[in-house]
Amino acid sequence: MVREVDLTLGEGEFLCVVGPTGCGKSTLLNLVAGLLSPSAGTVLIDDEPLTGIHPAVGYLFQADALLPWRDALENVALGLRFRGVPRQEAEAEAHAWLQRVGLAGAARRYPHQLSGGMKKRVALAQVLAVNPRILLMDEPLAALDVQTRAQMENQLLRLWAQDRRSVIFITHDLEEAIALGDRVIVMSAGPSSRPVGSHVIDLPRPREVEEIRMTPRFLELQREIWRQLRREVHAGQDGAGGWPA
């Protein structure tokens, strides 16, 4: 699916990956998460080859990944409980995280009682609560409506700015990639996909996603990356996958 991938994620870097659908962006992420093992090559974390799941890696999924039979608070505390933190301590910590994502009032609600955006925020709190140094996100906001999405993007940036974890953020939305990232990687079209471009995003931080989108530098970057992306999209349409309309 993916080949000749040679990527290095810097400490505290927010790396965005864009590419046509079916180019193996998720495969890449699952390799880094240790959910898949590469058929050739290695994934190194702190210069150590990765074998299986690494405790320093957190993963925010696109689909709902909360336990439906646990309320928001218990879900956020889950990772800490798995790591042997006593219940009271874990729940106090979880409560603090729920507060940080603005959901302290919804602690006792079950996932089915939360809206899509709220569920995403609980999931974010859940993954951040275990304090991962590397955070992987697989189109986490793709299912949200436009307003909720912009709100979540800003919240994500604010939370990230507090402790600057290393992030790999996968998206098919170029605007989102530029608005959030320090660097944008463009993947070539499938079936054997590889990174074909790396663009440094030199927009100032802190950013407000709705405002930064209007700045001339943003538009310039967008034009530049889109030129490259478009070639891959057309290649993809001639080949296997395609770019979503």
């Binding site: 890696v57 689909a63 336990l67 039979w69 889950l78 079950y110 089915h112 275990v130």
Partner: protein, 263 residues
């Protein structure tokens, strides 16, 4: 929905009254022979006599004990077997034809065998009830384990869950939630096992009472026995509904999905 229910119950009661009156009228004038169809007032008299004399209680107690034992044992065995086969797909594939065969077999015919093995007491009825309860629970749990969302599973693993923690926090709740969805059927099955077992050979129980009454062509007592069983089944079902509501708060119900209020 609630207001609709409130408005309906008087009509439902009226319907019952009409049917009882019709039954009474038809059998009192012998349009329907009362020898075969019984008479509501005589059925009522039998019921009153059973409860007033206390004759019914030991029989009812035995039937309910058998139901409870069959339900608890059958459910536990079903959960264990379902989780085991759900987590070892190879074993499940190996045993698949046998599971299907045993499930397809009309298991009520096992009653005489159980009577030979376990005697005419409580044991043979519980055994029959277990074979009836087991499969419903087993298939539900198997399905529940197989349908655990791979994303939920991957997420739990990435959050650091060990194999034992996955079992406890992911597989077990997934499996038991499916058990609850089959709880109504399971209780019903356990009850059927108890009564059919008694009916086929016993010395006690409501099924035995019915069998005795049939032996002397006392149709009113037979109907009284059926009434007792029906009321018991309805009460058990209501109990299950209450337990279910208490234990499955996390689950979306058609009424609660629209209002996002916490309880």
């Amino acid at each position: 929905m609630r207001s609709g229910k409130d408005r309906l119950w008087p009509w439902q009661l009226a319907l019952l009254a009409v049917m009882l009156l019709l039954w009474h009228g038809l059998t009192a004038r012998e349009i329907l022979p009362s020898f075969f169809f019984g008479r509501p007032l005589l059925v009522w008299a039998v019921l009153r006599q059973w409860f007033a004399s206390g004759l019914i209680y030991p029989h009812l107690g035995v039937t309910l004990l058998e139901t409870l034992l069959a339900f608890v044992c059958g459910t536990l065995l079903g959960i264990l077997a379902g989780m085991w086969l759900g987590l070892s797909p190879r074993l499940a594939r190996l045993l698949d034809p046998y599971v299907k065969a045993v499930n397809a077999m009309p298991r009520v015919v096992l009653a005489p065998i159980f009577a030979m093995w376990f005697g005419l007491g409580v044991g043979s009825k519980v055994a029959l009830g277990i074979t009836l309860v087991f499969f419903g629970v087993f298939f539900n749990v198997l399905q529940g384990i197989r349908e655990v969302s791979p994303v939920v599973l991957a997420n739990a693993r990435l959050l650091g869950a060990s194999r034992a923690q996955l079992l406890r926090h992911v597989y077990w709740p997934a499996a038991t939630s499916w058990v609850f969805s089959s709880l109504h059927t399971s209780v019903g099955m356990a009850f059927v096992g108890a009564v059919v077992g008694e009916y086929l050979g016993s010395a006690r129980g409501v099924g035995y009472l019915i069998l005795q009454a049939e032996g002397v062509f006392d149709i009113n007592a037979v109907i009284a026995g059926i009434v007792v069983l029906t009321v018991c089944a309805l009460l058990l079902d209501a109990l299950v509904t209450r337990v279910e509501r208490r234990l499955l708060v996390w689950r979306p119900t058609p009424a609660s999905t629209t209002l996002a209020e916490p309880r």
